[in-house]
């Protein structure tokens, strides 16, 4: 059901853990739906120099967190903001349709962490461009 890449990031997740005194934190998901992701970032000169995560969730959720944190590390905030759920899923060599929402969560977690940073800096938060533009696959929705 999962690609080798997903299994690799599930079994050897990159960037697990918390950052002490992070510059930004984003928590997304809902225990009712079985996924919670917490993303921590360190930002230096507008660049994400470190990213870590803690995730309660399925294999795809853990792999998506791992991949998303990998993808944003070293990127400018603007670049990181553009990392879409699709990019996460593609980097994982695909996710089953019903697991696409995990990549969406990862994107949202990154966005939340960035906006948390911007808020702390007294900057206006960036807006989600089009929350319905995600590539959800045939994913079901958890209404909680």
């Amino acid at each position: 059901m999962y690609s080798d890449k997903v299994m690799d990031h599930f079994k050897n997740p990159r960037n697990v853990g918390e950052i002490e005194n992070p510059d930004g934190v984003g928590e997304v998901g809902n225990p009712v739906c079985g996924d919670i992701m917490k993303i921590f970032i360190t930002v230096k000169d507008n660049i994400i120099t470190d990213a870590k995560f803690k995730t309660f969730g399925c294999g795809a959720a853990i792999a998506s967190s791992s991949m998303a944190t990998e993808l944003v590390k070293g990127k400018t905030l603007e670049e990181a903001w553009e990392v879409s759920n699709k990019a996460v899923a593609e980097a994982l060599e695909g996710l089953p349709p019903i697991k696409m929402h995990c990549s969406v969560l990862a994107e949202e977690g990154i966005h939340k962490a960035i906006n948390d940073y911007r808020k702390k800096q007294g900057l206006p938060e960036w807006e989600e461009k089009n929350p319905h533009s995600h590539d959800h696959g045939e994913e079901p929705v958890c209404e909680h």
Binding site: M7, V16, G34, I36, T55, P140
Partner: protein, 398 residues
């Protein structure tokens, strides 16, 4: 990479066909392949084999052979029993009573009937998963035409008080169906003394083939056909008979019920060893389902702060096959309706692990799980934002 020895602990999902069952089935694919409706020699062989199986199944249930109808499995049996009785008795009433923890084959059928103008009461269960006979009696109305309560639950293993529930149905002259798919081989069944009018079973849950089941229909029960067509199964279930599957079902049910007591003692001992080990070594774990009134092979434990699928993936990596009440491949993100019905908070429901033991499991298997599982749980908790080593806040006091 070295392949780890597989430890199969998902017997509630399905079981392998036993060699003795396979031996019985084999000739019916190639040699005795005749269509039982035909007149010539090889066809008469098929016909005879089917009737012998009907008698085998009837004996196990305390029924008459002509009360046994072969189907394509548990889901078809459930659909047939419920829709068949509902539509055939519409003039008498439109109310059906079932429980909140039924298998989807029952629940989704009931939901379909709601769209067709029927009213369905979904009885709640207590925290151990038991249906309360008094609640059942209270739910009965003069429009009630069918009560369907499962014999034993597939997720938490709780065994319902079927005889008592059946007696209430009989008293009110309401048809009583039980989904006994998980019960066969684990509890002695007698449809007469237990007042069962219809009973579903499925061969692949007791070491028979997939795609073959049966529905017991007490003589006199008014029921519509589900699959119309040829005159097979006494004109009640059309379709060329799956002779190999049917004979396999017969041998499998005979083997599975030859020594129910011995099976219970042996399997429950293994299960209890596993449970004890888990509860002793893993904190924030709780048993789901009834502590005593449960299927001997069923163990269902919730581990707080972590999610079931990720547990299964790690276990699979170690060659251990289990299941979860978390959403997983069901296509829904909600945790199992059974877990919610027994009152588990959703996040705890997501962290449930079902291990169901079978005939081939050994103490070594159990000990292997007890070696692997604590590490898996610890690893996942380590990366869970809900788990805090100090103080361990976030625990739901369940």
């Amino acid at each position: 990479m070295e392949k780890k020895h597989t430890i199969y602990l998902d017997h509630a999902a399905t079981t392998p066909v036993k060699p003795a069952v396979m031996d019985v089935m084999r000739p019916y694919f190639t040699e005795h392949f005749g269509n039982p409706s035909s007149i010539y020699g090889i066809a008469r062989e098929s016909k005879k084999a089917i009737e012998a199986t009907r008698a085998q199944v009837a004996k196990v249930l305390g029924a008459a052979p002509d009360e046994i109808y072969f189907t394509s499995g548990g889901s078809e049996s459930d659909n047939w029993a419920i829709k068949g009785v509902a539509f055939a008795n519409r003039k008498k009433g439109n109310h059906i009573i079932t429980s909140a923890i039924e298998h989807h084959a029952v629940l989704h059928t009931c939901q379909y009937l709601e769209k067709e103008g029927f009213t369905v009461t979904y009885l709640p269960v207590d925290p151990s998963g038991l249906v309360d006979p008094q609640e059942l009696e209270k739910a009965v109305t003069d429009k009630t035409i069918l009560i369907s309560i499962m014999y034993a639950n597939n997720e938490i293993g709780t065994i319902e008080p079927i005889a008592e529930l059946g007696a209430i149905a009989r008293k009110h002259k309401i048809y009583f169906h039980t989904d006994a798919v998980q019960a066969i081989g684990n509890v002695p069944i007698d449809v007469k003394s237990q007042n069962i009018d219809l009973l579903s079973l499925s061969a692949h849950k007791f070491y028979g083939p997939k795609g073959c089941g049966a529905l017991y229909i007490r003589k006199g029960v008014k029921i519509d056909n589900l699959i119309h067509g040829g005159g097979q199964e006494n004109r009640r279930r059309a379709g060329t008979e799956n002779i190999a599957g049917i004979t396999g079902l017969g041998t499998a049910i005979e083997l599975a019920t030859a020594d129910i007591k011995g099976h219970n003692v042996r399997i429950a001992a293994l299960r209890d060893r596993l449970l004890k080990g888990i509860l002793e070594t893993i904190p924030y774990a709780r048993l789901n389902g009834h502590p005593l009134k449960r299927l001997p092979g069923n163990l269902n434990v919730s581990f707080e702060f972590i999610e079931g699928e990720s547990m299964l993936l790690w276990l699979d990596d170690e060659g251990i096959c289990g299941s979860t009440g978390s959403a997983c491949t069901s296509g829904s993100l909600e945790p199992s309706h059974v877990m919610l019905a027994i009152g588990l908070p959703p996040e705890v429901a997501h962290g449930s692990l079902r291990l169901t033991l079978g005939d081939a499991n050994t103490e070594q298997d159990v000990d292997r799980v007890l070696d692997v599982l604590p590490k898996v749980v610890a690893k996942l908790r380590e990366m869970s934002p809900l788990y805090h080593k100090t103080g361990k806040e976030g625990g739901c006091n369940v």
